[in-house]
């Protein structure tokens, strides 16, 4: 473990010497049924610095953050704030001590205005809501940190980046000195990430402490003064000093071995067209979601759809899968039109679909693996489970699914195993052999081992000649797997590039809606 105690803090209040910790956690242990989420974790943050908690999904970062802000109670261990032992029974107690969390899933009431959201739960509010006064105060706080927002706007109408700003303003308004940012860049385009980083610097200059929670190495290196790496609930490393953090070293600490993201592309010649989309458009409730989308996918080809969440990707996948009837245009699978004819018809033509929401859409949680295999297959009037049993056992074996046999309920599967069950069902074909596979965010929330398996399965399917549509918000994933990348922005394809020669800058710019000028 690298010790950081000699590092000189860069906060404005401390021109020399070691700054004391604003908040520290000592030997924190937290258990959930079946999981040891935090195992004797030590952590501290000083005024005016960015201290990053780095780790994989499930490493225990969010649990530690939840303990730091009072949302969870540790099973053992304790917190110290400015040298005084601290007990935080609730998030409110955390706020009283100046500790606030900006959640990954925003905690904002969509129907409320920005200022209503900012003042919600605040202690100094009068009984009567004086809207004008509140709006002014909120705008003033936002302005003082260089975070312009319209206090009268309804949150439901704001973009993701703007909502995040509202969350940060809310924390600052409530007097937060220590801000915990939980995966703040996960939902942002590269451009917005830049802006967030500027805001973070503005806050540290003002003496605030930032706990930055992330699993993305690149941004961690760029923003952090110090980095603490967690793996399986334990601290595996501690690196300090800007630039001292080396991405390769961090990666090793994070996963316990060297990982490499070697791009994988189609190895076989690309065959006939399997999916043909012409001028597809879709409006839901009068709002345009997709407009004039046209593209093809061939046998043995993987096409990646990149884009920021909410730009029509999910609707595109649902429309191709026959779940939604498009307002205009056409879809053909293997040369047969299937526009608006429903999912069963599309499946009969060779479609398979792995939706983003695994447990709840792709799989029925309360049902067994066996019954879940039946979900997209043809079922006779009397459900025949007996004859499917051997096949279920074989698939469990083949896809290395950790389960106690075909009767294992889906809800008790881990994320990775649930995804493997889904892929097993979809790749093994039901009504006919699979020709076209549509997958949405196939590795989201999975651990490294499962990610590797899922990517291998997708590659094998491609090598076997299946056409694949990969929809993912993980840009790295799309960049390293897809043979062709299409960028969807506000329901339109704004950029197309071969995967081999794609530039991160160009794709990022297209995702942000900046089309021209970036090479």
């Amino acid at each position: 473990m690298t010790d950081a105690s000699h590092e000189v803090a860069r906060g404005p209040h401390h021109s020399g010497g070691v700054a004391p910790s604003a908040l520290s956690a000592h030997r924190i242990v937290k258990r959930f049924p079946g999981v040891l989420a935090n195992d004797e974790v030590d952590f501290d943050v000083r005024a005016g610095e960015v201290h990053t908690l780095l780790g994989e999904n499930g490493a225990g970062k969010s649990t530690l953050a939840a303990i730091l802000c009072g949302l969870y109670q540790p099973d053992s261990g304790h917190l110290v704030r400015n040298g005084v032992a601290l007990h935080l029974p609730t998030p409110r107690a955390g706020l009283q001590h100046g500790i606030a969390m900006v959640h990954q899933h925003f905690r904002l009431v969509e129907r409320f205005t920005v200022s209503e959201n900012v003042v919600l739960g605040s202690r100094d509010l009068d009984f009567r809501l004086k809207r004008g006064q509140i709006d002014e105060r909120v705008a003033a706080v936002a302005e003082s940190y260089g975070l312009p927002i319209d206090p009268t706007a309804t949150v439901g109408d704001l973009s993701v980046g703007q909502r995040q700003r509202v969350e940060i303003v809310k924390a600052l308004y409530q007097g937060a000195e220590i801000l915990l940012l939980d995966e703040p860049t996960a939902v942002l385009v590269p451009d917005e990430v830049e802006k967030l980083f500027e805001n973070v610097h503005a806050m540290t200059r003002a003496g605030k402490s930032i706990v930055f929670i992330s699993h993305k190495l690149g941004e961690v290196v760029a923003i952090s003064d110090r980095v603490t790496v967690l793996r399986n609930g334990r601290v595996t490393g501690h690196v300090s000093g800007k630039g001292a953090a080396d991405a390769r070293e961090l990666a090793r600490l994070m996963v316990g071995r060297d990982i490499e993201m070697r791009p994988q592309r189609a190895t076989h010649p690309i065959g006939h067209e399997v999916l043909q989309i012409r001028n597809l458009s879709l409006a839901l409730g009068g709002v345009g979601v997709l407009s004039d989308v046209s593209f093809n996918i061939h046998e043995g080809e993987m096409v990646g759809i990149a884009g920021v969440a909410g730009n029509g990707q999910r609707e595109l996948a649902d429309t191709i899968a026959g779940l939604v009837t498009p307002t205009g245009g056409s879809i053909a699978i293997a040369g047969t039109m299937c526009t608006g004819r429903g999912p069963i018809h599309s499946r009969e033509l060779g479609l398979a679909y792995v939706p983003e929401d695994r447990l709840g859409t792709g799989l029925v949680p309360s049902m067994s693996i066996l019954d879940n295999l039946l979900l997209t297959r043809e079922r006779s009037v009397l459900v025949d489970r007996t004859s499917l049993r051997p096949e279920a056992a074989r698939l469990i074996d083949q896809f290395e699914i950790k389960a106690n046999g075909p009767d294992h309920p889906a809800r008790k599967l881990s994320g990775g195993n649930a995804q493997k069950v889904l892929l097993a069902r979809e790749l093994s074909g039901g009504r006919t052999t699979t020709k076209l596979l549509v997958v949405c965010s196939p590795t989201r929330g999975l651990d490294v081992g499962a990610i590797e398996t899922v990517r291998r399965l997708l590659n094998d399917a491609r090598s076997a000649g299946q056409a694949i549509l990969l929809v993912s918000e993980d840009l790295d994933e799309v960049m390293s797997l897809a043979d062709r990348i299409l960028v969807l922005y506000r329901g339109r394809i704004v950029h197309e590039t071969p995967g081999e020669t794609a530039s991160l800058a160009a794709v990022g710019a297209a995702m942000a809606g900046v089309l021209q000028g970036v090479a």
């Binding site: 049924p33 679909y353 049902m367 997209t376």
Partner: protein, 364 residues
């Protein structure tokens, strides 16, 4: 500072099997204890009340046959409720559908006359009753599956309409359903071929077999058939159903119609069995509402409903006999029904969660 202890709910991975039986039984006991306290507080003897109830329901052969006789209807209304509840469709208007079943069956029984043999007539009357129940839920089912209108309120409102309808067909002079030969309002008797005979000198009719067979058959349908599979998918996750191309709209519609038909069948069984006509007092008996309690206590398990219906039937039969033997108000039975259900709902938490009291002192 607050209280130094905190109650935590930990989700159990799997509910232990013994608790699945223990919780409903425990809630019955708890409700009986609650009822005893209540009886004491209001100046009645709980011991007398309960022993009288028991002897009226389960302790004598007369009591047992009476209990089973009532259970005949309650199984139907219980299955009607559970069949919809299992898909998170809350048809709580089984009461009204039961009235319509009664009216429909009486109409068939009267208008078909004496031309048909019993073997044809009885099934026909039952079928018309079931269809009438289904017809009564048609509008709520249609608007629920098309527009998403809350079936809870709509089915219930129609129950009040149904009650007025029963009164209308009996109290209106010259009504088709009114017995023309009596001066005071009374239902007109159905054809003799539409009536079954009771077992011996009891008040129990062979219709009990119909009820039990229906419950068991439906349990089988849910377990084994494609239709049952669809119901389970929709119940658990409508999104998964849509993903798989299962039409929630059509299945919801059909489940509600079946539910209405089952409640209607309950009414028809009364016509074929003990009533032989429309009995206007039906609107005060609440057999349809009892079905909701029975379903909830059996946790919507269609086969277990037979057991919980018999239990409830005993409670009611015992409660009704109280009036004759003591001066305890008969409504203690209804109150106990509600209390059992309330306790069972609270008890569910113990089944699903591991409940702990945690000390939350300052950690040092």
């Amino acid at each position: 500072m607050g209280i130094p202890v905190r109650i935590t709910f930990e989700q159990r991975g799997d509910a232990p099997r013994r608790l699945s039986l223990l919780v409903p039984m425990g809630s019955v006991v708890a409700a009986l204890v609650f009822g005893a306290v209540f009886l004491l507080a209001t100046g009645y003897s709980p011991l007398d009340t309960y022993s009288n109830m028991l002897s009226g329901s389960f302790a004598t052969s007369r009591g047992v046959t009476d209990t089973l006789a009532l259970a005949t209807v309650l199984i139907c209304t219980g299955v009607a409720a559970a069949f919809a509840f299992q898909m998170n469709v809350y048809n709580i208007g089984g009461e009204g559908q039961l009235y319509l079943g009664l009216i429909g069956a009486a109409w068939a029984g009267i208008s078909l006359g004496e031309h048909l043999p019993s073997l044809v007539m009885v099934p026909l009357v039952l079928a018309v009753g079931a269809l009438s129940g289904a017809a009564w839920i048609f509008v709520p089912a249609w608007v629920r599956s098309r527009l998403g209108t809350s079936e809870i309120v709509s089915t219930l409102l129609l129950t009040y309409v149904g009650a007025s309808l029963v009164e209308y067909v009996i109290y209106t002079p010259g009504s088709y359903f009114r017995n023309p030969n009596t001066p005071f309002p009374q239902g007109r008797l159905v054809a003799a071929s539409a009536k079954l005979d009771p077992f011996g000198d009891s008040r129990l009719y062979p219709t009990i077999i119909v009820s039990v067979v229906v419950a068991v058959a439906l349990a089988w349908v849910v377990r084994r058939t494609e239709y049952g599979y669809r119901i389970k998918v929709i119940a658990d996750s409508p999104k998964a159903a849509q993903y798989a191309g299962i039409s929630a709209r059509r299945t919801t519609m059909s489940v509600m119609l079946v539910s209405g038909a089952l409640a209607g069948l309950g009414g028809a069984l009364l016509v074929v069995g003990p009533y032989g006509k429309i009995e206007p007092s039906i609107v005060n008996l609440g057999y349809g509402y009892a079905g909701i309690v029975i379903a909830a206590l059996a946790r919507n398990n269609l086969a277990a409903i037979v057991v919980s219906a018999v239990l409830f039937s005993g409670l009611r039969v015992g409660g009704e006999k109280l009036q004759i033997t003591t001066d305890t108000p008969i409504h203690i039975g209804v109150m106990l029904q509600g209390a059992i259900l309330l306790f069972a709902l609270g008890g569910e938490a113990f089944r699903r969660y591991r409940i702990r009291i945690v000390r939350t002192g300052v950690a040092t």
